[in-house]
Structures are given as structure tokens and as C-alpha cells.
Symmetry: D2
Subunit: 136 residues, 4 copies
């Protein structure tokens, strides 16, 4: 099953390109898992104290990405402003988490993968945000 | 145990009145549960079709309040802008959910309680948002 | 990025075939999203009252699958019994949700996709549960 | 508002003492927050490496308690076995987390509060589990 199939199976009508929504859902869902895994992996590294910022930002980013994926999957059209606010918060969390993981990307493969997932999610959310703001 | 005790037990330093953070955590945590319960209760009411908007807004609000309570409980000082964005999204969700529950408040006690919990959460998040924006 | 890459990037050692863990994470993460979407889609169908059981089971299943994916992504080896209990609860939720969606599979494509995702998740969790219970 | 008021406002009928459900919801919701706060606080302590087990168990326990509170708040009567499985997983997570926090209770107030919250949640879930298993 693809996320696009799932969106097309819903009776609610989309006001924006379904492919943009599907990519944001996939990127956010993926990022939530990678951040969760990265937080736990960081705890097993030496210098765990130095990793503390990274772990906290992972946990916040995992939460925000998870809630963004679920919100978008609901296709709740009752409040477009909520979607804009959720996307803005998710983008903020991804930017912050990517910047915390970046310094560790060469030392820790999980930080490299996490930075990558955050960047993809940030871009997908930004693309959807731009499309939602564009007057039809 | 009180939420204030929990905040005071953390080594991270707060840059804002702890009582405001504690009230926002308590109100958001409470609202997340009430919205979850209201969504499920709505499904057992007659005219479930009319309740659909209410259920979806309950689910979004429960998610946003849950993530807000957890974010605040982390006392993650690495990104103040994320806290502002999370609070803004939570306020948006609470305002929307309260407006969906309000028309049913006389018919359904769970909608009355939910509207109340949303209003309290909105106010607590707004008070914290204002304090965080105030230059020290 | 694949989930297997993510697991291999963690310093924690696995005591079971990583491919089984990766498939359980992917299936649970996918199922959490599909259940969330199905719950919301059901609310827009006629006969929403009849869909109430389906919606509630969707919501429970989404929660259980989400927590299972996150638990597995953590590779927390401190308590194998917790992993067994989480998998057992997830399997229970998937079986129940699939049986609630099955009667609607011909009328609603989202219920057909949801039943499918629940079946895949149940099987992946059962395969991992069996492997974890097998003495090495 | 009390959790008991919330439960009484729902049209679904309970098959067990509402006070037991309310206490399990309150204890689980409280424990989810305290574990989230404890995980973050542990990261700021010296010897963060030694705290790693504590942090991971906190995160698992926060997830399990959160999902338990939401499941119970739904009063979903369609599958009693799911409720038993969820409570069993939550009890397991609380026992494990309490045992990880206990050794740090004198050094860190947040670990003492967390152990306390886990013990209360374990007991509330066990009392509800026993009541649900008792034939009427």
C-alpha cells in the first residue's frame, strides 16, 4: 500500500495536490522513527553528556513529526490554520534537530541518517505549507 | 506529587515563572484526555454523522495537547522558537475544538467538559506564550 | 533510508534477526497511519453510527501500533518481557481492528486497506514474538 | 473537572467500578509526564552514560502509560482482552522503570518522584486488571 492510495481512499476532498500531502506524511512518519532510534542510540555512545542536546532535540522532533503525520493523515478540513501551525512547528523541530545531529554526522551513522531524515521532512512540510498558502 | 515539584526537581534552569509552565502542562495533559474521551463518547451519540467534525477536532486537539505537555515537561532550552510554535499550534487546536464542542454543550455533558478543558488549555498556553515573548 | 540501515547504525546489539525487527517496525508504523486515516475517513461515511465500533478500534490500534514501532526502534534491551507484552498487545489490537474493518471492506476502500495493514502488522509482530521466545 | 466526571459523562456503560478506571487513568497520565520529565532531567546530570538505562526505560514507560491512559479514556468495550493486554504491558513498563530509577532516588529527586509515580501506576493498573478478571 502507498500513502497516496490511502489518501485517495478517503471520502474527504483535498484542496491541495495529494502527492504533496503524501510526501509530507511519509517524510514525517519516517523522521519520527529515525529520531526515536537516534535518541536511543545516542545514549549508548561515549560522551553521552555531550549527546544530551541531541537526545532532547530528537525526542521533541519525534513528537512533532509524529503528530504532523497523524494530523495530515486525518485530512481534517475544518481548520486550515491548524495545519499551517502544525507544519510550522514541525519545520522548526526538524531544523533544530538537524542542526544538533550535524556535528555528530561523521562520528555516528545514526546522527547522519537523522540529519538526512530531518532535512527531507523539513522540505516536504515547507513544500506543503507553500502550496496551502497559495491562493487557488 | 505536583507538576511544580516535578519541574523543580529537574537540573535544567527555567527562564520563565515555573508556575506558568506547570499550569500549561497540567491544562494540556488534562485537555488531551478529555478530548480523547469526548471523541469516543461522541461516537455513541445519536446523529454521529453530525458529530463527525467534533470527533476529528477532538482527535487533533488531543494530539496537539499531548505533544505540548510532553514538550514542556522536557524543559528543553535549546530552541525557544520551537516552544513558541508548539504553543501556537496548541492554542489553535484548542480554539477550534472548543468551537466544535460548544454547539453540543447542552445536549452532551462530555462536550461541555471538553469545551471547558480546551478553554483552560488555551488560556494557559497563551499566558505562557506571552511570558516567553516578554524580554527579561 | 531503510529501517534496516537505521537499526544497523545503532550501537546496541540485537539478540534477534534484524530483518524481523525492521519488518515489525515498518508494518506497525504503516498500520498506525492507515488506522488514523481510516478512523477519520469512517466519520465522513453515511451510517457513521454503524462505523462507531470501527472508529474506536482504529484509534486503539493506531495508538498500540505507534507505541510498538517506537519501542522497537529504541532497541531497549533492558527488559525482554516488556517487548513480549507490547507485541502481544499490538497483535490483539490488530486482530480486533481487522475484524471491525472486514465487514466494510467492499463498501469502503479505506477499510479494505486498513484490514490489510492490520493483518500485515499482526503477522510481523507474531513472527518477532516467536523469534524472541525461541531459546538461542 | 475530575476524571470521574469525564467517565460519567460518556454514554458507554462501564462493566467495572468507575473509580478504579479513573484512578488508573490519572496514575498513568501522571506517570507519562513524570517519566518524560525524568528522561530529560537525567540527560543534564553528571554521569549521563550511567543514566542511559534509566532514560530508555523512562521513554518506554512514558509511551506505555500514555497509550494506557488514552485507551482507558476511550471506554472501548469492543475488546476486553485488549484492555487486559494493555494493562499488562503498562505494569511491566512501570515495574522496569521503577527498578531503573530506584538506585538514583537519593541522588536525584526526579528519579525519586518517577519511581513513586511508576509504583502508583503499577498498583492502579493491577487493581483494575484484577477487577476486570473477576467474574461478575
Amino acid at each position: 500500500m502507498t500513502t497516496l492510495e490511502m489518501l485517495n481512499a478517503a471520502p474527504q476532498r483535498l484542496t491541495v495536490d495529494a502527492a504533496l500531502v503524501a510526501e509530507a506524511i511519509d517524510a514525517a512518519s519516517d523522521c519520527a522513527l529515525v529520531c526515536t532510534a537516534c535518541a536511543s542510540a545516542c545514549l549508548s555512545e561515549d560522551h553521552a553528556r555531550e549527546m544530551a542536546v541531541c537526545v532532547r532535540d530528537d525526542l521533541d522532533c519525534a513528537d512533532l513529526c509524529g503528530v504532523t503525520a497523524r494530523h495530515l493523515a486525518r485530512l481534517n478540513a475544518s481548520d486550515k490554520q491548524l495545519t499551517l501551525s502544525v507544519l510550522a512547528a514541525c519545520i522548526e523541530a526538524c531544523v533544530q534537530c538537524a542542526s544538533s545531529c550535524a556535528p555528530h554526522r561523521d562520528a555516528h551513522e545514526h546522527c547522519r541518517l537523522c540529519e538526512q531524515a530531518c532535512n527531507r521532512c523539513e522540505q516536504a512540510c515547507q513544500a506543503l505549507l507553500d502550496a496551502l498558502k497559495t491562493p487557488v
